[in-house]
Symmetry: C2
Subunit: 133 residues, 2 copies
């Protein structure tokens, strides 16, 4: 046996790693209110969220899920050409390799699978991927 | 044409959405130092990160990427049975439907594709999926 032999058991290269996420819910906007509506099956995960005043909402920039947006590595912040070119990892740009967005939101109420929040800078029906205290 | 006809153009159900991420880099620990080593191809995305004092590091709990961990919706925080059962979205548990971790880290230096940070509560070689100011 030669230790360096490349065989079927060779682990995948790190650069070939892929991570898959599913939506746990969606941002809904109606009647002047902003809500995170969880997929019913994830409702048990909300136990205790009603005791929090604020929550981190992690969501997916689904409108940008195309190679031309995901290959962007530098932007003029806020789309203003007078702002110097900046690496996406130093900005909150919605164009970036992994389209995760992060917002701190105030919790107004929690009822069953629905969290009402004060506001969020996201399009209606944007998929939510995680919530954290 | 009947508007309600279900055809090939029917959009996928929201619950069937899937989002794929790739690592942009990995957490390396050696010689008492903690570094985020970016895949070289993402280095242009770091332009301006050297001007920040702190950064949000989003990483993937890759050791838990199995259905038995991703199906967990309630935990005893910090694994202590005396802590009341709590929904994962009210905790920082590494068992959750989407295995994203979030840490605020102090930047010590940025050189080429390497960011030295003060510390991070993650295993060595954990994949990093995003950085935000």
């Amino acid at each position: 046996m030669i230790a360096a032999t490349i065989g079927a058991d060779e682990p995948a290269k790190e650069t070939e790693q892929r991570f898959t996420m599913r939506p746990i819910g969606w941002i809904r906007k109606a009647e002047g209110k902003t809500r995170i509506v969880l997929d019913k099956k994830y409702q048990p995960g909300l136990l205790g969220v009603d005791k929090l005043e604020e929550i981190w909402v992690l969501y997916w920039f689904d409108r940008n899920d195309a190679p031309e947006h995901r290959n962007v590595l530098q932007v003029h912040p806020r789309g203003d050409p007078s702002n110097p070119l900046t690496g996406v990892f130093a900005t909150r740009s919605p164009k970036r390799p992994n389209l995760i967005a992060l917002s701190r939101c105030k919790i107004l109420s929690v009822e069953e699978n629905v969290i009402e929040i004060d506001r969020i800078d996201a399009f209606p029906d944007t998929p939510v991927v995680d919530l954290k205290p």
